[in-house]
Symmetry: C3
Subunit: 245 residues, 3 copies
């Protein structure tokens, strides 16, 4: 357990709040482990359909610098990597609400969320190269899929900060919000998702996340699921209702 | 044959028109089979260089709901899947002119066209999850290649409608047109393409469509075709003419 | 050696200038070989951290048409292909400053640079199909990764010219510059990069360039480098300094 990560479950939504404001929500080993545990619990809890992650004034200033020095991750069993795998392999949709600083892993973790809302005052940065470090959390792979090679190279090679407008242009967020509306907009989308069948959310996310496949192969894989759903009584009921309109 | 799909060939262009206006051009089994047949005929007809697909007031409201209930596709031999494979494997360039509703497969089929023009009043939607269904026609693979993961997840997980401006921003269409100019703009591009050598259209499309390859492998594959073309008398004639300018 | 390609090295930057203004910097066999040699020398020279490529009034009008007719590339040992492989496999960051014409390989070579700045008056074109040719330099693979399938198909199938604003929208350049500021902006970025450790520039570029991998595989590969850097004395010094702030 970490006192810097809070969570609650209501209306099929697990809400995870980073709460270490005096350090701009910088992440420590304890916090990574707690995040990993919460994500895994949500996946196993049939009552949870959506995970919503938020910070406070800041989303997160990234990995705690002191932790990097005193407890550097030593191998892939380190808390930070356990968190990474849990987040990227989570079968449920994940929504993040970003405000203030989203530095380092604060930006790269957004690449593994499904919907991202950011307030106007958000500041993003992946300063790895300036710290003597390299890109992490598959940002070297995923950024260019979002925004093309050149902007990815610019972000990772120059390591400069950018604002919410640029993040939207780079397809790293879904929408820019007024700071006062951020929580409501993120929660509203969480509620919309939580109104849908849990299994369909999981199947839809799994289909979008699948990697490395031919177009024909994908058409066929989807068809298997599609045909199965056409035999599903709930689906038939929806279609029958629509057909009578 | 389906009375709801019309076609004609002129100036090396096969023009296919969806014509079931009273049902907003919703697609039935017969229509899918007719579309598949027309596409395959065009590919085999040396006089056809381009396929142009259009609707009327609406492009298509998607799969006929009654057909989903009464004749649901049962396997990959169903008409809808035969149509999908024919469209995605068609070697000729395909242009679509979209107006009004482009729902479900009306949106996803655009992912397999080469140029897409849409009138201002177009409305796009992939409401699969809201019908108890899953993404189809490789939309779960291709949408994120167009617009990045987040917007793809938003479209497929929320299943909400969006307009032509958003479709352009998401790279699902090439251009927004005034309704009155849509046909002419689409036809104009079809004519431009039909003025080019059929074999080069096919080779160019095949190169762009090829999947899963290293950059070096692609450079070499293109080089084979490039070197071959440099020995082609027509190419030499063009280059010689240009060199004298 | 080619009298049409100049170069110098200063402040860890190799600056390569195309200098055949009377032919709008059209590229000949000699120039390709010289470019290849310079790129390879830069890679092997520990004092060079960044390559900066620029033209003059024009970037380059593409392959010299007369050369296409009189000395067409015959196989993958031709100078143009040697240049292609050298550029795409160069481990150092490459910046291009584009003004005026960037035709054919003048556009496609930008797909292998890391930062591209273009003046307002730039004109891009890949007219291969109109010359009886096919796409080259992996443009048939890479363009759609930048800008989505439809725009890639439009550029390669119609072969029409487009301006800097469109090139920015298509993610083929990083930034549009006033003509008078182009050199300074490109040089400024080159200096920023040359202030970073050479090995980190190489590792960062190599990570972004790696192809065909799962997300989990990429997270792990990055982690290997990340953990190694956390043990690097220079990195520890940077982090320790930051932690004291």
């Amino acid at each position: 357990m970490s006192k810097y990560v809070n969570s609650d479950i209501s209306e099929n939504i697990m809400h995870i709040k980073l709460d270490r404001a005096h350090k701009k929500n910088a992440l420590t080993e304890d916090m990574y482990l707690e995040l990993k545990n919460l994500i895994n619990k949500a996946s196993q809890n049939k009552k949870v359909k959506v995970i919503l992650i938020s910070g406070g004034e800041d989303f997160t200033a990234g990995n705690d610098i002191r932790d990097f020095i005193e407890n550097p991750p030593k191998d892939k069993n380190s808390p930070v990597f356990k968190f990474m795998i849990a987040l990227t392999e989570c079968p449920l949709p994940i929504i993040s609400a970003v405000s203030g600083f989203a530095v380092g892993i604060g930006t790269t973790m957004l690449l593994h969320c499904d919907l991202v809302y950011a307030s106007k005052n958000s500041l993003f940065m992946m300063p790895f190269i300036n710290l003597g470090l390299v890109p992490e959390f598959a940002s070297s792979l995923l950024l260019q899929k979002r925004t093309g090679y050149l902007k990815a190279a610019e972000m990772l090679m120059l390591g400069e900060k950018f604002d919410a407008k640029t993040a939207l242009e780079y397809r790293l967020i879904n929408q820019i919000c007024e700071e006062s509306e951020l929580s409501n907009i993120a929660l509203n989308s969480a509620k919309k998702l939580s109104a849908k069948p849990r299994e369909l959310l999981i199947t839809t996310k799994a289909l979008i996340r699948r990697e490395s496949e031919t177009i024909k192969g994908r058409i066929e894989l989807e068809a298997d699921h599609f045909i199965e759903q056409l035999g599903n009584p709930e689906t038939i009921e929806i279609l029958t209702r629509l057909n009578k309109k």
